[in-house]
């Protein structure tokens, strides 16, 4: 955990953004065009004081994606070093 805690608190996420802009809840019902606003729920989720870094904040799906990326990159690096080592071997002149 970094030395300074983030400034954002877990209560009332609406305080982060200025109240001068229209909130989705203020808009008329017709503006639920294409789905409803889940941003406040996500703000609560991502501001939970659980000490998790942002790239793992969502839990299991984040962990899976991170581990897959790590595995591919590290595996690829090993493959790359072997391939470059082999490519640097001189071909025998016939």
């Amino acid at each position: 955990m970094q030395g300074l805690k983030p400034i954002v608190s877990t209560e009332s996420p609406a305080l982060i953004f200025g109240t001068t802009t229209k909130l989705a809840s203020d808009l008329p019902a017709t503006d639920s065009f294409l789905g409803k606003n889940k941003v406040p729920d996500l703000q609560k989720l991502f501001q939970k004081a659980d000490g998790l870094p942002v790239h793992l904040k969502r839990g299991v799906p984040d962990k899976l994606l991170y581990r897959t990326t790590m595995a591919l990159t590290i595996g690829g690096t090993i493959y790359c070093l072997i391939a470059l080592y082999m490519a640097s071997q001189p071909r025998n002149q016939k």
């Binding site: 808009l27 991502f46 990326t69």
Partner: protein, 261 residues
């Protein structure tokens, strides 16, 4: 509870920068293996890991801004500087290819028949598909500005329609360019004309695809209520990039397609 006494964003420790650098290593070595030994596994691995890193890194930035509120006006100002510097660097990238084209076309060598277009090259008619493509990109510049105004005026439906139309115009341009590439009577191997034409327009086309992808992500975020009427920098960055792509096309059209035919 300690709070920061400044308006900057001290990011959480993140694996993406170093994994991104590793992905670049795999991609470049992959290109070597593909060119020299005709195997594409490493290249595929490199491109895949590059895609995964980009997705997760940018996903995290959306989380940090929209969901955690870290993008204060100070942070936003610095992001604006960053995007402008990046676009400037891309302008210099294209400047090199324009230089190459002008170098060869302003003083055509005897090998080319002392003329431009070189002997034996039938250039594309600039008043056919290339002119349509110009109109398409100019129109898309209008629709993306319309989308921006709709966002600042909190008009959700119009913003979504305008941005979707912009993206469709981008796809239409790409599809038309692809057919032009397929139907062209000359190829990249046809001397310096072919090289300059396909490398310059090819990199432009790649940037249209990148710009369309950026705009598509913005459309998704717009639908998901991420943008507010006075804080939507992701969209502005995409719109700047799109205008840049449009301007590059105008230069390409005027020099390579029109003057060069």
């Amino acid at each position: 509870m300690a709070h920061q006494a400044h308006s900057y964003h001290m990011v959480d420790p993140s694996p993406w920068p170093i994994l991104g650098a590793t992905a670049a290593l795999l991609t470049t070595s992959g290109l070597i293996m593909w060119f020299h030994f005709n195997t594409s596994y490493l290249l595929a691995l490199g491109l895949l890991s590059m895609l995964l890193v980009m997705l997760q890194w940018w996903r995290d930035i959306v989380r940090e801004s929209t969901f955690q509120g870290h993008h204060t006006p100070t942070v936003q100002k610095d992001l604006r500087y960053g995007m402008i510097l990046f676009i400037t660097s891309e302008a210099f990238f294209f400047l090199g290819f324009f230089w190459a084209f002008l170098h060869s076309s302003l003083a055509p060598t005897p090998e080319l028949g002392g003329q431009w277009p070189p002997s034996g090259i039938n250039p594309l008619n600039p008043l056919e598909v290339p002119l349509l493509n110009t109109a398409i990109l100019l129109a898309s510049g209008v629709t993306v500005t319309w989308a921006h105004h709709s966002i600042t005026e909190s008009n959700r439906k119009q913003a979504i329609q305008a941005l979707a139309l912009t993206i469709l115009l981008g796809f239409y341009f790409t599809a038309l360019q692809a057919t032009e590439y397929y139907e062209a009577p000359f190829s990249i191997a046809d001397g310096v004309y072919g090289s300059t034409f396909f490398v310059a327009t090819g990199f432009h086309g790649l940037h249209v695809i990148i710009g369309s992808s950026f705009l598509s992500v913005c459309l998704l975020r717009l639908i998901k209520f991420h943008f507010t009427s006075n804080h939507h920098f992701g969209f502005e960055a995409a719109a700047w990039y799109w205008h840049f792509v449009d301007v590059i096309w105008l230069f390409l059209y005027m020099t390579i397609y029109w003057w060069g035919s």
